[in-house]
Symmetry: none
Subunit: 194 residues, 4 copies
């Protein structure tokens, strides 16, 4: 792996600082000056890397969405059966949401908020294409219910955001069995009953 260039380090530090501040107190408690301080950078420097605050937020969103997708699909291949593939992807998504808590919380906030440009949101969705393709295959094979992708997403991936939030607030604790139970609920909700 190539070592990151100095400026790439700064960029990453800015992104990390943004995520950290936003998830803890929300957009309005993440001033540029604090982001700069936390990234060990001067406020002015941010504007060498990002056009303005909105651009910064958008870029952070897209970057994290990309890393989320990379994680989701890292073990998946199209030779898998639909059920195998879905389980594989779902578990990786769960893994991401529960291990990369900060990033996942950030995405959850963005997705339920007018914080991000609609355009960037659209852009971020594209990363999920392999999952949509898999679902399509599943529907053609009669394995998965014949409903739109939004619905499939709503009942399989989206619930994880809720569980992640609950875990964050220490309302629940999550172990392997818990994940497995959650997976079964996701699968039960979308699989085609005979």
């Amino acid at each position: 792996m190539q070592p990151l260039s100095k400026s790439e380090i700064k960029r990453k530090a800015l992104i990390k600082a943004t995520v950290c501040l936003v998830i803890n107190n929300g957009f309005h408690a993440a001033p540029m000056s604090k982001i700069a301080k936390m990234a060990n950078v001067s406020p002015g420097t941010i504007y060498l890397y990002f056009e303005n605050k909105q651009d910064l937020i958008n870029k952070v969103y897209l970057e994290i969405k990309a890393s989320f997708a990379a994680h989701a699909f890292k073990d998946f291949n199209e030779q898998m059966t639909v059920e195998e593939g879905f389980k594989n992807i779902w578990k990786q998504i769960a893994d991401f949401k529960l291990m990369q808590v900060d990033e996942a919380l950030f995405l959850s906030q963005c997705d339920n908020t007018p914080m991000i440009d609609e355009e960037s949101k659209k852009e971020g969705i594209k990363h999920l294409q392999p999952l949509l393709d898999l679902w399509k295959r599943g529907q053609e094979q009669g394995v998965i219910k014949n409903c739109c992708h939004y619905m499939l997403y709503a009942y399989t991936v989206y619930p994880l955001a809720f569980l992640m939030n609950a875990k964050q607030k220490k309302d629940i604790t999550i172990n392997e069995q818990y994940i497995q139970d959650a997976y079964l609920m996701a699968w039960d909700s979308i699989k085609q009953s005979k």
Copy 2:
């Protein structure tokens, strides 16, 4: 029904304005001055009804959460079977989320954001008790999967927020059939398979 007092009218107008601005642009783009203007009131007047901005947001949240719960349980009674009862409540929730779009969007933002005091969130959850009780009964009867309420909520109610968002952005259109499909997915995910 009693006519609202003049001051109750103002209070309602302030709440409505808050919801409207927050859902369109987020907490940080809903300044008190705009809320006042939209409610046809002077900025100072807000502080006759609410202690400060945080209090305003909290109260709006709680008020809407209460009206949400009232809607959810309005036709429910405890003589219903678990499945009947769940279907009844779920459909009312769906109805609320899809008809009272603004209020529902507001709740969704609050629930995925550090916008609201943790205390008010806890307060807001209490309204759901009848649903939790119903689930408990279902679990005792072996009709509903034996998992924690957070999970049951995550896979039945929470997905509606995602669908509501999608509808709002005109990504999907929702009709009776769509609702029925969604209901089945919710039920399939939590019902105890034999």
Copy 3:
């Protein structure tokens, strides 16, 4: 003594509340609303008794100044010798400053601050005429130094404000002996040495 009329009671309550709030936190921490609350009166009512806040403050000042003068001269008569008379007045002034702490603190703040209209200050000074006359007599008799009244005041009455402040902050405690010492210093500073 005649019982105070209802409206005179309110007036007095307003004056007392004003004094109380101003001495504790200064003019800027004595809003009309708090004054009204402390006087058990509605904010609007204040404006039936006083033109505006400045007028209220001025009137409070003048009223207290008058009561201060009444106290100062209550036992004095012009048959007294200059030294007797001065001692008598000075002790009464000391008594006022140390017993009617709130009123005295209020006067001290007013006299060292642009809080009061210059006109009202001028008005307030008139009450001291008997003391000035006494001084004049003393100077004519060669008993008191031949300097202007401002100077005599500065070295006899004004120092009490400092001692009163110190007492208020519990930096010193004051008893009869202390008063007597202070009196001697006042007298020593103005008496004509042979």
Copy 4:
């Protein structure tokens, strides 16, 4: 003497503006915006130099108190006799109060008002230590009356504030003779009579 840095110039300008506005209209009529304008600075800039308005006022007070003390003791040395030393210090204090009118008026307002933190007041008093030491020496030598420092201060230094106020309002005019008379009154009031 080193030229002041650009930021030191701004700091001084802010302090000067604060003094000017406060002495003319009081704390409550010295808004940050006016202070900024008078210092030829934008409102936000104040907060680069001072934490908030209270901090600004405190710092101004302490800075002036220090310069006051520096002036008071600039010619004094401990080899002087008590009377010499006292006269020296007293005259310098008088000089400061009558020449640096604005600063002196500011101190007078602060010392008779709850404008300044108690803590800062305590801090400001420390500067007077040499005078207190001198008084102690005088008392040990039987030259000065055996009373507490507060009293000595009340009858020697504090009266100057009153004269200064009177001069400011053009009630009196002050010349060398006047100063000398005032000095004698101060000395007469505290010196031990045989």
